[in-house]
């Protein structure tokens, strides 16, 4: 039916087609391409809805467009940003912020107290922000003059600076971003901030092009455009880096799987950058499980958990739930359980369990000591391997672990609603949300809202006291008690201190990490060298 000539013609046509395409690949002019730094991201920026007072879009885009009133420097310290200085009343109910002079939004309009009042009132009016302290307690925002903003709270507010420094929802947006202009309830039109970048082009689900904000006030604006390209599949991100379609990928923006990193190691065309993180991976303990209600067993799990094995042994030694970079954590106030399998076995036996030689595990009343560990690997692919290592660790001390890898929605349902787990792998929040915001979200227990990760009245009482304490020194003392209590009761099982890993083409230079993971890089420093 087909002669050889027929196949030959088809082959030639296909070859010509591909050759034609190869010419197209290099079609954008070299000059144009060199002015773009393309970054692979997993999440669409939703740039058309990037209202500073909402959670729309990605955090890093919020942080690139909008500046905060104060910057989080880490370890509970803050640096001036749009507010050059601030005063806090002794009762923690009044915050007076003095704004920087000569700061302009990307549309050329000035930053003043009216813009700050507009932004904060807009954020407070939104229901989804109701759980944040500023939204809960803010009574009024006053603008006595162009450069001063006074925030009055109903009660003592201790988390204000932490929340103001976050990527959202309290960053400052121009009143011109909405219609009618300056209306707190106005309809969002355009993202106008004071940050280093502004949005030039947005293709939903494909990419967002950010161009330098010529009015950027803090440092020299970039000479490059920043392209956030949506690539959801991790392997596709690796391929896109290898093919040169993207210049940079990694971190929370679009992680590169650990198993793919060797592709870029010892390769002159790529650079792997590893930065610190404040996030920790840990196991949530379901204290309603009969075995886990016993403190000895919780402590035994901690003693039997050899954390040096995780991530191919590349992780930092785990000393407690929080990394040392977290506010209020010091090298001495967070006790931890050293790896000691013998001690773990003693504790298990002290709780009446007996070693079954045949099954190689502990039993009590004929029931094996076995636990159901729930994980998800969509957002954190490395958890699967970590769960298997944990399973092996527990096997060494006679505890049988059944790993259940759930789909993301089912996993969160298990954590927040059904509680059908004995152990559940989770992660802490990051930066300024640590430790208070994280602890109050997961470990605070009240009759109306039971603690999600653990229920312990003394711990909740301490968190209540922290919320009412303005003095940092007194807060430190209270946090010391919190960490001690969490350790003594073995309320969780710390697993691994996360890191931020990025891979970029060696053409990209001046790569610098930022202080916070919401805005992980100093994007405006990035440059591209000619090949």
């Amino acid at each position: 039916m087909f002669g050889r000539s027929g196949f030959g013609v088809i082959a030639v046509v296909l070859l010509l087609f591909i050759m034609g395409c190869s010419q197209h690949v290099s079609s954008p002019s070299a000059a144009e391409e060199d002015k773009n730094i393309v970054v692979a991201v997993t999440q669409d920026t939703e740039a058309d809805k990037l209202d500073a007072s909402t959670y729309n879009g990605s955090r890093h885009t919020h942080a690139a467009i909008y500046d905060a009133l104060v910057d989080y420097k880490g370890k509970g310290e803050f640096a001036p940003s749009l507010a050059e200085s601030w005063e806090i009343s002794d009762d923690g109910r009044t915050y007076i912020l003095h704004l920087q002079n000569q700061v302009m939004f990307s549309d050329g309009s000035p930053l003043n107290s009216a813009a700050v009042k507009f932004s904060l009132e807009r954020a407070v009016s939104r229901e989804e922000n109701a759980s944040l302290e500023i939204s809960r307690l803010l009574q009024k925002v006053e603008a006595p003059d162009d450069q001063t903003v006074v925030l009055s709270f109903k009660d003592t507010a201790t988390q204000v600076l932490y929340e103001l420094s976050q990527a959202r929802p309290y960053r400052i947006m121009s009143p011109n971003s909405v219609t009618p202009k300056g209306d707190v309830n106005g309809t969002f039109q355009k993202a106008i901030g004071t940050g280093a970048w502004k949005i030039a082009e947005y293709q939903p689900g494909i990419q967002t092009v950010l161009i330098p904000n010529d009015h950027y006030w803090l440092e020299q604006p970039s000479d490059y455009s920043l392209v956030f390209k949506v690539i959801t599949d991790p392997q596709a991100r690796v391929m896109a880096l290898q093919s040169g379609e993207v210049d940079l990928a990694g971190g929370e923006l679009g992680n590169i799987p650990m198993e793919s990193l060797p592709v870029f190691q010892n390769n002159d065309n790529y650079v792997i950058e590893t930065g610190s993180s404040t996030m920790s991976y840990f196991m949530v303990i379901n204290q309603h499980n009969t075995s886990l209600a016993d403190k000895n067993i919780r402590q035994a799990i901690n003693y039997g958990n050899d954390t040096s094995k995780y991530a191919g042994g590349s992780g930092d030694p785990v000393r407690g739930l929080f990394q040392e970079k977290v506010a209020f954590i010091s090298d001495s106030n967070q006790p931890s359980y050293p790896y000691n399998p013998e001690k773990a076995k003693q504790l298990i036996e002290a709780s009446g369990y007996q070693w079954n030689k045949n099954k190689q595990l502990y039993e009590k009343d004929g029931q094996a000591l076995q636990l159901r560990l729930v994980i998800q690997s969509e957002e954190y692919p490395e958890w699967k391997e970590m769960a298997e290592i944990f399973q092996d660790n527990m096997k060494q001390i006679g505890i049988q672990i059944h790993i259940v890898n759930q789909e993301r929605a089912a996993y969160y349902d298990t954590l927040w609603s059904t509680k059908e787990y004995d152990l559940l792998m989770y992660r802490t929040y990051t930066d300024a949300q640590l430790p208070y915001r994280f602890l109050s979200s997961l470990f605070y227990d009240s009759p109306s809202s039971p603690g999600v990760a653990y229920q312990d009245k003394p711990l909740s009482d301490l968190l209540d006291q922290i919320a009412a304490t303005v003095s940092t020194q007194q807060q430190q003392e209270l946090f010391n008690q919190v960490f001690l209590r969490m350790h003594e009761e073995a309320m969780s099982v710390p697993i691994y201190y996360a890191k931020q890993t990025f891979v970029h083409s060696s053409q990209v230079v001046d790569f610098r990490f930022n202080a916070i993971e919401d805005n992980p890089l100093k994007w405006h420093y990035l440059k591209k060298e000619a090949k």
Partner: protein, 325 residues
């Protein structure tokens, strides 16, 4: 050629009957999808809050559920949704707040191009190869190609896609590996889908060819020494039209399925990826709207295939009982 009056009447009655069954199936299907989503673990309000980085506190979750009508009974929710559907609305996405219909239309362009291209290419490649293999059954060439199809059947689409990306995007960088903005962005995804689908088609067409070429009327035609230009289209292909049509119809859902994987790997902002992400987010209006659309498309396609059966195969017309039940 005008249809005889009796034939037209039978056809009309059977079509009305099928349309009625289609509506019933449609309602049952929508109820099935609606029920399945409510039974699936994961609450849309909590998922939305987690997605945006907020804590799913009970009061906020309850407010969102009320806003979306999820606090109402199952029947109330279904009737409210069905009422909207009858008015031509598919509701608003929980996560974006935008109308589902407009979001779907926005994304259908790239998906329909992807599916249509791979669908046509699959037919273009597999029908001639399948027939050629069938006619040369048992030859070395047939055995080689047949072995290749066995190999092809065992290659998952995901793996093939990555392989193509690596070969033509990294080792020999002639094609872009992600995105959908230009025609060349379609080459790798269409190739991946076409290759995976063609393997199955080739095997089926080959087996039809072997089966049909043994029929006496085909052998008689061959014995009469008909020219290939008459024999193939008028005899062999015509007799194989019904099974090939069935093959095409039944494989359409697999093209949709393949497009979900393809769009995810190649970062296509298409309809299939939109539907998959909605499932992960438990965005009920989007899931229900998308499922309804896919079902409607397949139902209409099947309905049109039935019409073609009727027109193409006289036995269908003669077998009144089959059509009148």
């Amino acid at each position: 050629m005008a249809l005889p009056e009796e034939r037209s009447e039978v056809m009309l009655r059977s079509m009305i009957h099928r349309l009625f069954m289609l509506v019933v199936t449609f309602v049952l299907f929508s109820l099935f999808v609606f029920t399945l989503m409510r039974l699936a673990p994961g609450d849309p309000a909590s998922m939305l809050l987690l997605e945006i980085g907020a804590v799913p506190e009970q009061s906020i979750v309850a407010d969102l559920q009320k806003q979306w009508g999820l606090d109402q009974s199952f029947i109330q929710q279904y009737l409210a949704w069905a009422n909207h559907v009858f008015q031509g609305e598919l509701g608003h996405s929980f996560s974006s707040g935008e109308p589902v219909l407009s979001e779907m239309i926005e994304r259908l362009g790239s998906t329909s191009k992807l599916i249509a291209s791979s669908f046509l290419l699959t037919l273009f490649i597999s029908i001639p190869i399948g027939i050629w293999m069938g006619l040369n059954e048992g030859t070395m060439a047939d055995r080689v190609v047949y072995s290749m199809t066995i190999l092809g059947l065992s290659i998952p689409l995901y793996w093939l896609a990555i392989l193509l990306m690596y070969a033509l995007g990294v080792i020999w960088p002639v094609l872009p590996v992600v995105g959908s903005s230009t025609t060349r962005h379609y080459i790798l995804p269409v190739t991946a889908m076409t290759l995976v689908q063609s393997v199955y088609f080739i095997r089926m067409v080959r087996s039809y060819t072997i089966q049909y070429s043994k029929f006496s009327y085909i052998e008689a035609a061959k014995a009469r020494g008909l020219r290939p230009s008459i024999f193939y289209p008028s005899y062999l292909l015509r007799s194989m039209f019904i099974p090939i049509l069935t093959l095409i119809t039944t494989s359409l859902p697999s093209f949709f399925g393949a497009s979900i994987i393809t769009e995810t790997i190649f970062s296509f902002p298409g309809f299939s990826k939109y539907m998959l992400e909605a499932i992960f987010r438990r965005d009920f209006p989007v899931i229900q709207g998308s499922a309804l659309f896919v079902a409607a498309f397949i139902f209409v396609f099947n309905f049109m295939t039935d019409l073609l059966y009727f027109l193409a195969d006289p036995r269908v017309h003669l077998d009144k009982q089959r059509w009148e039940v």
